[in-house]
Point group: C2
Chain length 382, copies 2
C-alpha cells in the first residue's frame, strides 16, 4: 500500500505539496510522471531518467498484456524486476486504449491532440454505432488482439489480474476513457458503466497494491461531480482524473475546479495523460499531485525541445548552425555537453543518440519546472 | 603529436603492450577502437562508451564532410568539441569509402563480409571498367555528392584539409582500399597511386596532428612488403594496415606476418576495419596495437550479443523466456540489470533502448577481451 503526507496546502489556490510513500520509495509531489508504455522510457536508459529527476513512471497494462505477455512478466517476478526499475511505478488499466482503439482510431483522435483547433474536429462523433475496432459490453471490452487477430475480452477482473502480475505500486481501476465531442447521453451511459467497472476492479484485487479510482464525466459538471463523489466514497488509495479536459486551459482549470474539491484531500490525485509544459501552472494551481504525458519523450523523438521561451524544432535549418545549447541555464548532460548544431546533425544523420539526448533534456525540463512550482508552493507563494 | 611507449614485447609471438600518448590522453594498447562514423557511437552515449572501456574512437572524414560539413565542424572548433568527446580520436581518410562507393557498391561487397564463403563471391571483379559510382584519377576520386548529386573531387589534399578541421589526434593518409578478388595488375597500379597519395597527404599537413600511413597490397606478399617498406620510410607517426586480409584467420595471420616485421616497432600499428571477437587472438599474436570494427555496435542493433560461448541472437524465440543475462560473468550495466527476456522484449516492441543496452554489452565484451589479452602479454604468457 501507499500513504500520502500533505506538507503544505496553499490558502491562495488548491495547490499543495506532499509526499507519497510507496514500497519502492517516496515521491515528492507535485511531480511529473514519464511514460514507460512498454516497460521502457523511450530512448532513455533508467539511470538517465533518474538523473533527470524522475521519481515515478507509468507503464501500460494493455501493451504489456500482449508484449511481453503476463507469462513472461510473471516469470520475471513483475515489471520492476523485468525492467530493473527500483523506484515507484504505476500502471494504467487499459481504459485509455479502449478509447484509442475504438472511437479514437475510427476518428483519428488522439488524446494528446484534443486541443487542436479546426472546424473539422468540432463534429460530434457518431455514437449511434459502436466503434469498429472494439465492442463494449457490460462485461468488458471485446477487441482483436494486435498480436494475432484473435478475439480478446478485457474486463475489470482481467485488467486487475494483469496489473497484479505487473506488480506496480499503484494500479488503476478499469474504466472507459470517453472521447471528446461525443454526446451527453453516451457519456452518461459510459460513466455509469465505468463506475460499475471500478467497483468490480476493487472487488477483484487480491494483493496489497494500491488502487486509484478514475474520475470520468467529460466536460459535464454534474457528471464530473457525480464521478468524483463516486470514487471518493470507495476504498481507493488515490484518484485519477481521466478523459476529456476541454480545449482550453481555462476549460481544463474549470473541470479541475469541479473535481478536486469533491475528493478527499488525504489521498493523492493524478491527472491522466496531460502534461505539456504550458499545462503545468493550471495543474499546480488546480491541486494536481502527479500527472503523466508522452509529450516530453514523444516530442523529443520528433526533434522538439522545451525551453523557457517555448518549444524549438531542432530539425529547422536554423538549428544546424547554432553553437549554443538548447537551454544555457539547464544543467542536464545534453545542455552541458552539446550544441543545438550537434543535435541537429544527429537528427539529420539518423543517429538515435539524438533521441536520447533530447529526451533527457525534455524530461529534465519538465521535472525542474514542476520542482520549481513545488518550492513556490512550500514557500507559500502560490 | 603522439608518442608510443612499448611496455612489453613478447619473445613468443609478435604480441606487445604499450601506451600511446595523445593530446587527449593516453591509450593503453592493445585496445579495440569503436566506430563513430558520423560523430557518434551508434546507440550509445559517450559516458557509457567510456564505462565500457573505450579509450579511442574513429570517425569518418567522408561522412563528416557531407554531414554536418566542414563549415559547421570548423565553427564548432573541431569534432572533439562538437561531439563532446574528451578522449583520443582518430579519423579515417575516406579511402575506405572510395572502395565501398565504387567496386564495393557495384558488386555488393562490404568489407565486413569478405570472409563469407560461397562460389558466387569467388568471381574476380571486372576491373577492365571503372566502377560506376566513382572515377579514380591520379588527382583523386571523383564521385557524386550523396547530399545533392553534384560532382565532388576528393584528393589527398582535400582529405587532409578536412581531417585538419575535424582535428583528430590521429589522421590517416588518403589511400585507395582495393576490393577483394580483383586482379594483381589492378592492385599493383592502385598501390603505386596510393603511395603517391600518401606522400601528398604528408606534404599537405599543416598542423601538429599525428598522421598514420596505410599499408595496402591486398593478399600479395611482395606488394604488402613493398607497401610496408614505403610507409615505414616516411615520416608517419604510426601505421594503418588496410584492405583485404584474406578469407581465413590463417590467411590474415600470414598477411600480418609479412607486414608487421617490416614496420618500425617504435610506432603504433592500427588494423583498419577488422575486429570480430574471433579475430582478436590473431591480431594480438600478430602484433596489432589498435583495431576498429563496426561489428560490436552494428550487430547489437540486429539483436546479436557476444558471449564467451559465441554469439547469441536475442531475436530468437528462445531468448523471450530466458531470465538470465547475456553473460552472467559480465559486469556491464546490461548484464547486471537485464535478462535476455527483457532485451528480447525491447527488440520485439521496437524500443531503441534495446540497441543501447546490447551495444553497451558488446563493447564491454570486446574491450574486456582485449584487456585480458593485454594482461597476458604483460605477464609474458603470450
Amino acid at each position: 500500500m501507499i500513504s500520502f503526507r500533505l506538507l503544505h496546502q496553499s490558502k491562495k489556490s488548491r495547490a499543495r505539496a506532499g509526499i507519497i510513500s510507496t514500497p519502492h520509495g517516496d515521491i515528492e509531489t507535485p511531480t511529473f510522471v514519464p511514460v514507460a508504455t512498454q516497460g521502457a522510457i523511450k530512448a532513455l536508459v533508467e539511470d538517465a531518467a533518474v538523473r533527470a529527476g524522475t521519481q515515478l513512471i507509468i507503464a501500460n497494462t494493455f501493451h504489456l498484456l500482449f508484449k511481453p505477455g503476463v507469462d513472461i512478466l510473471s516469470a520475471a517476478g513483475g515489471l520492476h524486476q523485468f525492467m530493473h526499475w527500483q523506484r515507484p511505478l504505476m500502471t494504467d488499466s487499459g481504459g485509455f486504449q479502449v478509447f484509442s482503439l475504438g472511437f479514437g482510431m475510427d476518428h483519428s483522435l488522439g488524446k494528446i491532440d484534443t486541443r487542436v483547433e479546426g472546424d473539422e474536429r468540432r463534429t460530434l462523433i457518431d455514437v449511434s454505432t459502436q466503434p469498429r475496432q472494439i465492442r463494449i459490453t457490460e462485461e468488458g471490452v471485446h477487441f482483436r488482439s494486435p498480436m494475432d487477430g484473435s478475439e480478446v475480452l478485457m474486463t475489470p477482473e482481467s485488467s486487475i489480474a494483469a496489473q497484479q502480475v505487473i506488480g506496480a505500486d499503484i494500479m488503476y481501476a478499469f474504466d472507459e476513457c470517453t472521447p471528446p465531442r461525443t454526446t451527453r447521453a453516451y457519456i452518461e451511459e459510459s460513466l455509469a458503466r465505468t463506475h460499475r467497472w471500478e467497483e468490480r476492479s476493487l472487488a477483484a484485487r487480491t494483493t496489497a497494491q494500491a488502487m486509484f479510482g478514475i474520475v470520468q464525466g467529460s466536460r459535464y459538471r454534474d457528471l464530473r461531480e457525480r464521478s468524483a463523489q463516486f470514487v471518493n466514497d470507495r476504498a481507493f488509495a488515490g484518484f485519477g482524473i481521466g478523459g476529456d479536459l476541454g480545449e482550453s486551459k481555462a476549460q481544463s482549470a474549470e473541470i479541475l475546479s469541479w473535481v478536486i474539491p469533491a475528493l478527499d484531500p488525504t489521498r493523492p490525485r493524478h491527472l491522466l495523460g496531460i502534461g505539456h509544459p504550458e499545462d503545468i501552472e493550471l495543474m499546480m494551481r488546480g491541486g494536481v499531485d502527479t500527472f503523466d504525458c508522452v509529450s516530453p519523450t514523444q516530442l523529443a523523438r520528433r526533434g522538439i525541445a522545451f525551453t523557457p521561451e517555448g518549444r524549438i524544432d531542432l530539425r529547422n535549418e536554423s538549428a544546424r548552425h547554432a553553437m549554443k545549447p538548447i537551454d544555457a541555464r539547464c544543467a542536464c548532460d545534453t545542455c552541458v555537453k552539446y550544441s543545438r548544431a550537434y543535435l541537429a546533425h544527429l537528427l539529420r544523420a539518423g543517429e538515435i543518440n539524438a533521441y536520447s539526448h533530447i529526451t533527457l533534456h525534455n524530461l529534465t525540463f519538465m521535472h525542474r519546472a514542476v520542482r520549481d512550482w513545488r518550492e513556490k508552493i512550500l514557500a507559500g507563494e502560490i
